[in-house]
Amino acid sequence: MTLIKEQSLTEINSFTHRVIFPTVLRLLLILFCTFSHADKVKVDKSEWGLEAGKACITCHAKTSKGLATQWEESKHGQIGLNCLDCHRASEDDDDAITHEGEVIATVVSPKDCGRCHVTEYNQQKGSVHANAAAIIKNRIPALENVGGPAIVAGGCDQCHGSTVKLRGDGTLDPATWPNSGIGRINPDGSKGSCTSCHGRHRFSKAQARDPAACMRCHSGPDSPDKEVYEASKHGMHFAAERDKMNMDNDLWRAGIEYSAAPTCVTCHMGTAGKIKSTHDVGMRNAWKLNTPVSEKHYLVVFDNGDKLNLPESQDPPNRGASMTKPDGTLGKVKAVASPERRRQAMKAVCLECHGKAFANNFMTQFDNVVRLYNRKFGEPAQAIMKALYREKKLTPVAFDEPLEFTYWELWHDEGSRARHGAAMASPNHAWWEGIYEVGRNFYTKFLPQVREVAGKELGEELIGQHVSGLDEHQWLQQPNKANPILGYGSGAE
């Protein structure tokens, strides 16, 4: 059964009552079951606290005291979970090494954590976080030209994740390890890195719930979520009232265990009202914001738990249909959540502290900024770039011409900043560091460089076709509409 978009839902008729409402209910049920509450670990006590791992600590308490202390003070340490419980491996594992007679693996993958944390593993394994490396696989070669392999290892891969390689001589390739990128591809084939957010070896709840856990990667020019959050009223309250946040409480439900402020976790993965927590952190995002042009996305869930973000412009698959998964293999579709469902899940969190109209209007303001960016800058710039490549005015290789940098920064840095600023209510990032910079770039760098690259004739043709006709750019046609802001009219007596 195909999921019908919201527009169709407004057409109330018997078909809607008979077919669509039950479908929606079923989907909601699936959504809540699939992304169910962060479960208590139910693994039997006989399966951890391995005898062979009890002695590890006698050396490590001497040779790596800090690490040992973190473990000792952690919940893991206190319940008797030892080094080998997480680091154990079997001899034929690709990354197995022998250490003091025991077969272990240095890299603890989500699959390893998932031996006990089953629910969280299943939630994260198809998430946008787990696919963080796959998402940028086209970007890496182009940016590697600008930087180099060393900075792929020390930069890109540290957030997006490396493909960890154990060499034939038993050593981990330093080009791929250490790495706690959230989309890391592990030797056991699993994707992700729990320690990206859950710092080892204390694995403290409070630490992972702190916005700082996200900020290692979600900061800087292209996704300044740290800066946006800190500048928002949410961040303002968090900074002022973090002592009221009850951060290390076992349960952490918005409005119940804490109400001083929401953190990243609260909105993107936390429990709030009827919305259960999830380790699929992108699940509640209706838009994709880090793209040249933003589009809303369906969430397609496959029967093995894998997920796919499908642009709204494409037809959503039927349940039970076969579809290519992000890893290229075929999967059977188990459920599809529309962008509106995803938005509803996010908005349900808002309602713990805000009125419905407030939340709706906020989302409208946010959506309008995204659409403004899309229509006024993103779409025209994308169309012009495509035409310049088609007309061979630009070489196929990326970043060997100034215009390519200009365009990249327009959408990837300034444009993303604007959209993130609007998404999380930092006026400064939405405007001065966002749309204002997009506009300045577009009018003073992008368009002049297009004219330069395309030549006068083609340049004017492209700009005429993609820019001049848009209402948003009509102000350029009225050069005599005076304004004193920059000095016009003053002292001109």
């Binding site: 006698t58 050396c59 308490a61 001497k62 040779t63 005291k65 001899e91 034929d92 690709d94 197995a96 090494i97 022998t98 003091e100 007679g101 077969v103 154990l166 060499r167 034939g168 001589d169 038993g170 050593t171």
Partner: protein, 215 residues
Amino acid sequence: MTPLNHWKIFGFLTRHTLFALIIGGVAGIIFILILIEFDHFTSSEEFCTSCHSMEMAAEPYRQSVHYNSASGVRASCGDCHVSEGVFASTWDHFIGGKDLLNQIKGAIIGPDYDEPVFHVLHLPDSAFAARKWFIERNSATCKRCHNKQAILGTRVGTEKVHKEDAKSKSCVECHINLVHRKVPEQKTFKRESWNRMVEEEFNLQPGEADRLLSR
């Protein structure tokens, strides 16, 4: 009993046997002296690396702290790989003679261990054999220089770990891959990924390493 009776037990000593005994004795002494000198010479880096395959094993050694120590102490090949005492060291050299035979056999009918790729392909087997040798001897040659009771280390826990946790362990149970090219422990060694590494290193076609090895 007169003193003369005392000498009667040497009655069998004819001129000839006396002569033979003296010659035999001197020859024996010379033989032992030669053995000592032989063991000494054949334990030297100079001798060992006169085979090219051993020169390849020595390259990483020359980068290691066993070659370049701040105090100027330098362990040569035999200091680690040949037992102490003239009989034990001669025996080790006798057993080690098979390396020489293989070297000669390799030069004639292959595989040629002087080829770097063969050297690396076969290195794990040598490493496993060497580790076994050390374990069987309780890391005896390490202990020529290293005394567990005297290990202080430069890090906080080093001394305590050696005195408390490693009390009943011999050196190589923990310390491997110190001197020569790194080889995983046998239990988790994977020929497959070792061969892929060799192919990458020597720019060989995939599967070429397995083919070379089966030669």
